[in-house]
């Protein structure tokens, strides 16, 4: 669609400012099962999200259907939607930041590698998984996928920003069996640099993830000192940081209300947001067109800033922090490349500090078992007993319960083993004073 046509028509129909955010995505994926390509998928898609201001209110319309009628359909829907909006905030579109730290992180090498080579990698992963351990009874699937996304944000003020990015994913999952006990293990590698694939290392991690769970028992139900794996720490960081959103604060749903420049975590904890970090999550402008910046959200336990988009900033008479991102139907507040700053100790050093405790390697069911508003959680978990400072017997079907704010306030130490998760969150292992574990 011709953006200009849309902007002109919108103006004629009484919209004071309009914006088009379009995304073009192409994907490729395939999967091996029992040494055969069991599925193969290729796709191209396009979607367009249009916003416009009518009588100081926003109307929004999204479409994937583009033809000569599209500008008219969008304008009409925007007006009809804007007419029912009752909120007091004056709708704003952004004219542009002074400077953008644009960078091209699109890696042509991903597409340049032949499909045959990518398939060969899958066959190699599968065959190595089969031979890696006699307890492997099934390989649930070995998958490859790649996505390339091109976004364009343009508005009637003349702002026109573009970003093109791509990444690939290798994933594998195995089932291991010992006596009657069945466990699964998996590994996902996400990157935009093909050199990062190390098949032997990848295979080893899948196998270890599964086999180390075998022989799982349940521990006695009580409070234990706990070490969280990097993956588990990242799982908790995401809902914890939701509280930094000015939107949540203004709507009384944040754990950080009235806590600016106060302690919300232990002194060991520093939390950063680095949208300009050069990885596949890199963003140099947010979804409102504001230039992003790297920042400290929490420094040595002290909350340094809330995160704002244009609207939440306007409500408080402050400036946006470049954290306006689309969440479902509206422009919300979110963050890109958040991380817990690593400490100096290794994970082994952290474990050595615990006489008897629990190591949590992963938690499940976060969407239901954790309430980001109250911070309370009670989650299915798996991990290991820690005995005399070392990993001991595996634990399965245990639950870990607590409160997010208490958890971050009771961090005793932070390790140096940071890992980037598929969710885009980076965290190292954390030593927590105590958490309630249920087992037997």
């Amino acid at each position: 669609m011709n953006n200009k046509k849309f902007f002109e028509l919108a103006k004629k129909k009484g919209l004071t400012a309009t914006e088009i955010y379009s995304a073009k995505k192409s994907s490729l994926s395939f999967e091996l099962f029992h040494s055969e390509v069991s599925s193969y998928s290729a796709s191209d898609s396009f979607s367009m999200s249009a916003r416009g201001i009518y009588n100081d209110k926003f109307g929004v319309a999204i479409t994937e259907k583009v033809n000569k009628d599209t500008p008219e359909v969008l304008v009409n829907e925007i007006i009809a939607n804007a007419k029912v909006i009752e909120k007091a905030d004056k709708a704003l579109l952004f004219k542009g930041s002074e400077k953008y730290q644009k960078r091209n992180l699109f890696n042509k090498e991903i597409e340049a590698i032949s499909i045959d080579q990518k398939l060969k990698n899958l066959y190699e992963i599968e065959s190595k998984l089969k031979q890696a351990d006699p307890r492997v009874v099934e390989i649930e699937g070995v998958q490859y996928s790649e996505d390339a996304i091109e976004v364009n944000l343009a508005n009637s003020y003349g702002l026109n920003l573009k970003n093109k990015s791509n990444y690939y994913v290798y994933a594998a999952s195995v089932v291991v069996k010992q006596n009657d006990e069945v466990k699964t293990g998996y590994k996902v590698l996400l990157s935009n640099d093909p050199k990062e694939l190390d098949i032997d290392k990848f295979v080893k991690e899948v196998i270890v993830d599964a086999t180390r769970k075998l022989g799982g028992t349940q521990c006695d139900s009580k409070k234990y000192p706990v070490v969280l794996s990097p993956k588990t720490a990242a799982s908790f960081l995401d809902p914890y940081l939701e509280s930094a959103s000015a939107e949540e604060v203004q709507k009384h749903s944040s754990l950080f209300i009235g806590k600016l420049n106060q302690a919300v975590a232990s002194k060991k904890v520093t939390i950063l947001e680095q949208p300009l970090l050069k990885n596949c999550f890199f963003r140099y402008f947010d979804d409102e067109g504001v230039a992003t910046t790297n920042k400290k959200i929490i420094e040595k336990g002290i909350l340094k800033t809330y995160l704002y988009n244009l609207e939440t900033a306007q409500r408080e008479g402050t400036s946006t922090t470049g954290n306006g991102y689309r969440g479902g139907s509206k422009m919300g507040v979110s963050f890109v490349n958040p991380s817990i700053k690593p400490g100096r100790l290794s994970e082994a050093d952290l474990l050595a500090k615990v006489k008897t405790g629990v190591y949590i390697s992963s938690v499940q069911g976060l969407h239901a078992g954790l309430n980001p508003q109250s911070g309370n959680f009670s989650l299915q978990a798996e991990g290991f007993m820690i005995r005399d400072g070392k990993i001991a017997e595996p634990l399965s079907l245990i639950t870990v319960a607590g409160n997010l704010l208490d958890l971050f306030l009771s961090v005793r130490d932070v390790a140096n083993n940071s890992e980037l998760q598929l969710s885009g969150i980076t965290a190292p292992s954390l030593l927590i004073k105590s958490l309630a574990i249920s087992g037997k």
Partner: protein, 465 residues
Amino acid sequence: MIAKSLAIDVLNAGLETGADFAEIYLEQNNASFLMLENGKTESALSSTTYGAGIRLLNKLQSVYGYTNDLSRKGLMKLATSLAKSFKGERLLTVEKINKVRVKNVHKYEKPLSEVSREEKIALLKEAYDVMSNYDKRIVRIQNTFLNSRKVVTIYNSDGKRLDDFKERGRMAFVAIASDNGKIETGFEGPGATGGMEFFTAKISVKETAHHVAELAIKMLTAEECPSGKMPVVIGNGFGGVVFHEACGHSLEATAVAKKLSVFSESLGKQIASPLVTAIDDGTIPNGWGSNNIDDEGNKTQRNVLIKDGICTSFLIDSFNGRRMNMKANGACRRESYKYEPTSRMSNTFIAAGKSNPEDIIAATKLGLYAASMGGGSVNPATGEFNFAVSEAYIIRDGKIAEPVRGATLIGSGADILKKIDMVGNDLLRAQGMCGSVSGSIPADVGQPTIRISEILVGGRGGVLK
């Protein structure tokens, strides 16, 4: 959405390299979403999803792709590129396409696509008024209305064309209560395949809103739930999410065909207590998870999955059915054209038993009553699951006693099914969204009140005394 002659050409392009089946799935979904925050319309959105998915099958291999370029050029390009992944000779050619009549079993007295935004907002405000007047400690209220009209056309190499449409609507009520730094939430999300009459006549919006507010306040004053193994009575309605997660997913051909499910070898075997009969019924008129035809064009069915504790059927799509040597039974679903369809649940529930719910409570000396459940998840290979309980009470001496918050139920499906020792006569279904490989789809869960003789409860309140 496309001409028959183009469909034939696209199917034949897909079949060129030896595929034994080709399918084009075309879809246009027009949706509207309204959200009120604290009684004021804060967000209004219209969206159109539009595109085609092409699927080619060759024995046990599947190839899938999608595009929203529905021109001849766009569709032919997709079909040709997908066909490249097979290297054989053409096995069949589509000569003609016949239209198969699809019977619509759902009534739409007042289709939601024809109801004004203002009328929906007025209903949301009725709910808001009830919630905001309930208690001063309710600090944030969200009410949403989502409705969609989906029009689908399927062409396949069996020479069939099927046309279907469906309209669905769902309201959601969220109350957030806060006091002394504690925050708790209440939630309900009733929905149906149908029109506005579901919200104005079938259910009471005011009663639902009242219940949500009541729940948030009740949980605000509740003590932390104790932890450990105990008998648990799970309430009717959304309590059925336990069966959905712990058992239903493991009965889907997606997991069974590749023998990745704990129930892969269970057909004809006792997998549950003899008190348990479980059904997946995609045919229920106006059911939230119902469809006239599934997303590969087969008529939906009422499938009895477990009869008196014996595993009697799986949920099967035609592709996974090939691996299993079994026929598809109308259970193939997808969120949209962006997903390759596979076997999924529709309206899944445990059938009513004989006990009165009061008698189930009365028969329990010390345990937990999980009156309503939140969401959960499961690992189909191990059957391990977890669920959040959104409304819970301790049962003492056969009576419902103090409310408790923050409870989670943890277990494995195969184990829990055998431990169901009482089944009530108060079957009720409730609405949810089910997420899995072929996307997020509307699904009903359901059950009568049931008792599990022992299950692990997670919570922060120490040992149950």
